[in-house]
Subunit: 373 residues, 2 copies
């Protein structure tokens, strides 16, 4: 790759960024293995797929995709607002939560300002903070949960202008009650934004998601069609927030960035709550099966309010890593937390019965292999 | 919209940004009119739609969209590279040219640095420059073309670190020869990036697109599936560039930002070059028809190397604006350039024969009305 002229200088914030990426996709692993995965239960996708009505709407929209999307996302915002009992002005529709994390950091964080998160929490959020020159500070998980007390203390001590908190959590699937989260919100330092990631909120039992306060400019609640609605590859999600704050995203968002197909699919998906309940039921069955598989292998499945289960392999991160590698070698795509002590676990998404049969067959072999190493 | 607590302070670059948006979508205009447009020929979309093979691939992918996309866009990059005779390392796939303009400005431009473009050229590029704190400077169009000499002189005088240049141009559909563009490239100041927008390149006659130099780190060539490939609403495009520069986008891009459906559609679309040629042929027929309609109304259609025609209304911008309003009132969605003297024109996209029948019927009425005002 010979360069005849020097490459133009990059912006200061970008020049020194690491070129690491938040996640390697399963497709890259498949290319490296030269074989397809037999069970794809590593990215907390919904193996149960989108609502048939959403699929039909997307198929219909495929032929219409010569048209740009409605950049105001009008119809979808109206439907989302009605679903949550808020106004369309409380809703920002965007190209998935990842993209909207980028917008949020860009909107609020100046280079050098502090953003607080938990060590081991969602790495793509950190990718955006680092990318915009924010300075990340980390609280620890306490008993496998992101810890509001620790985050508030850290934010106060470090003058954090943004806090990331997921409820239910990823990668541990743990959760706090709505009243605990509300107490967290009520104690936010002035001038601090809470990015409340509720991507897995649709799976949570009653009493986990706090009541919506559509007038609090300090809270951005992130929701998605990628998880329970089964549309991860369509890239569409939304933020619920205070209208002035929501409006200010117009200053920077990619107005035509959502696809017309995703708009159509999401509109049909949110209208089909019966299907959503069906998926949540199937996920519960799958999680119970994962619990059984873990127990029958002498492992401990952690309680889960999401669509995946963290399985405690009861040794250190190196051991869990060997178990993970053994599963991947057997065609089972799973992932694991990146930092201790969370990394004693592997993370298994709710699969179909067939997926979990494959997992159940592979796990004892992977464990035996990991124990011998 | 009462706020009980003050909104957190926004980042310096964002706090003062105007909340104007680059384009109002036709759907917003339809809501304001409380009526659908009868002819949608204002956004340079391809009314001929995507290849039937691309539609079939997207329909197939709709059911698979529970999976995130391949974040490396591997298969599509291989296909694009083969199509252009370059390596996959020369290709960045992203969520449409608009999104990739944002990445490009972010990657190269520090706040306060200068970016040169032409007065009246693509506004969404400017939206991103302003959004990242760049300082825009403007050359004038010369004879309805963006002018390389003027842009080079301006860039040298103002020490611009980035230049925007579209070939063929939007909104005038004018163009330069490949050798003129190559001379422009060869004279770029050191440390300056050329954003060469070739969104309409698939419509250009032979001899307009310069030969690809895959080793020049100063040139980013923007291509899209939104125009000739008919997939505007699927949000997928690509940059052809030098491998190190292309790789550096990994530092900031939204890795999972392209939809799985768009990846599948684009892969099928690029494989169907016969369909692409058919569309280009239909566009040529439509442009000839637009020329006729203009001439029969005493107007002048400017020569076009794109999929739209700028029609010179032969008076000032206020007159052209009235013509535009008259067309919109008659259900014909068209747009017009934003600045003088380009704004003596209206801009009409290549429509179906039915679209152009509606335009042909509405134009004399709109002209008469505009003349009476």
């Amino acid at each position: 790759m010979q360069q005849r002229v020097p490459a133009p200088r990059q912006a200061k914030l970008c020049a020194d960024l690491p070129s690491t990426v938040p996640f390697v996709g399963p497709e890259a692993q498949e290319r490296a293995r030269a074989a397809q995965f037999r069970a794809r239960i590593g990215a907390n996708e919904s193996v149960f797929g989108p609502s048939p009505k959403a699929i039909a709407a997307m198929r219909q929209a495929a032929a219409d995709c010569w048209m740009y999307c409605d950049p105001e996302n009008h119809d979808l915002k109206v439907a989302i607002a009605a679903h949550h009992g808020v106004k369309p002005e409380n809703v920002l529709v965007g190209e998935g939560i990842d993209g909207m994390f980028g917008y949020s950091v860009r909107l609020f964080i100046d280079p050098g300002e502090v953003v607080a998160t938990s060590r081991g929490a969602y790495p793509t959020f950190n990718f955006h903070v680092t990318g915009y020159g924010g300075r990340l500070v980390f609280a620890d998980y306490v008993n496998d949960r992101e810890d509001p007390q620790s985050l508030l203390a850290l934010a106060a001590a470090q003058k954090a202008r943004m806090i990331y908190f997921a409820n239910p959590d990823n990668p541990m699937a743990s959760w706090w009650s709505a009243s605990d989260v509300q107490a967290f919100i009520d104690r936010l330092p002035a001038d601090t934004v809470l990015c409340l990631d509720e991507a897995y909120g649709d799976f949570a039992p009653e009493g986990v998601l706090p009541r919506l306060d559509a007038n609090n400019p300090q809270v951005l609640r992130f929701r998605t069609f990628s998880k329970a609605y089964g549309m991860a590859g369509a890239r569409i999600g939304y933020i619920l927030g205070e209208p002035h704050v929501i409006k200010s995203f117009d200053k920077i968002r990619n107005h035509f960035g959502v696809t017309r197909i995703a708009q159509a699919g999401a509109l049909a998906a949110i209208a089909d709550q019966a299907y959503l309940r069906e998926v949540v039921g199937k996920v519960a069955v799958a999680k119970a099966r994962i619990d059984e598989i873990a127990a029958s292998n002498g492992l401990e499945a952690l309680p889960s309010a999401a669509n995946f289960v963290a399985i405690d392999c009861r040794r250190d991160g190196a051991f869990a890593k060997r178990v993970l590698s053994g599963l991947i070698a057997r065609g089972v795509f799973v992932r694991m937390p990146g930092v201790a002590p969370l990394d004693r676990c592997i993370r298994v998404s709710a699969g179909t019965p067939a997926d979990l049969d494959i997992f159940a067959a592979a796990l004892p072999e992977a464990l035996a292999e990991a124990g011998r190493a």
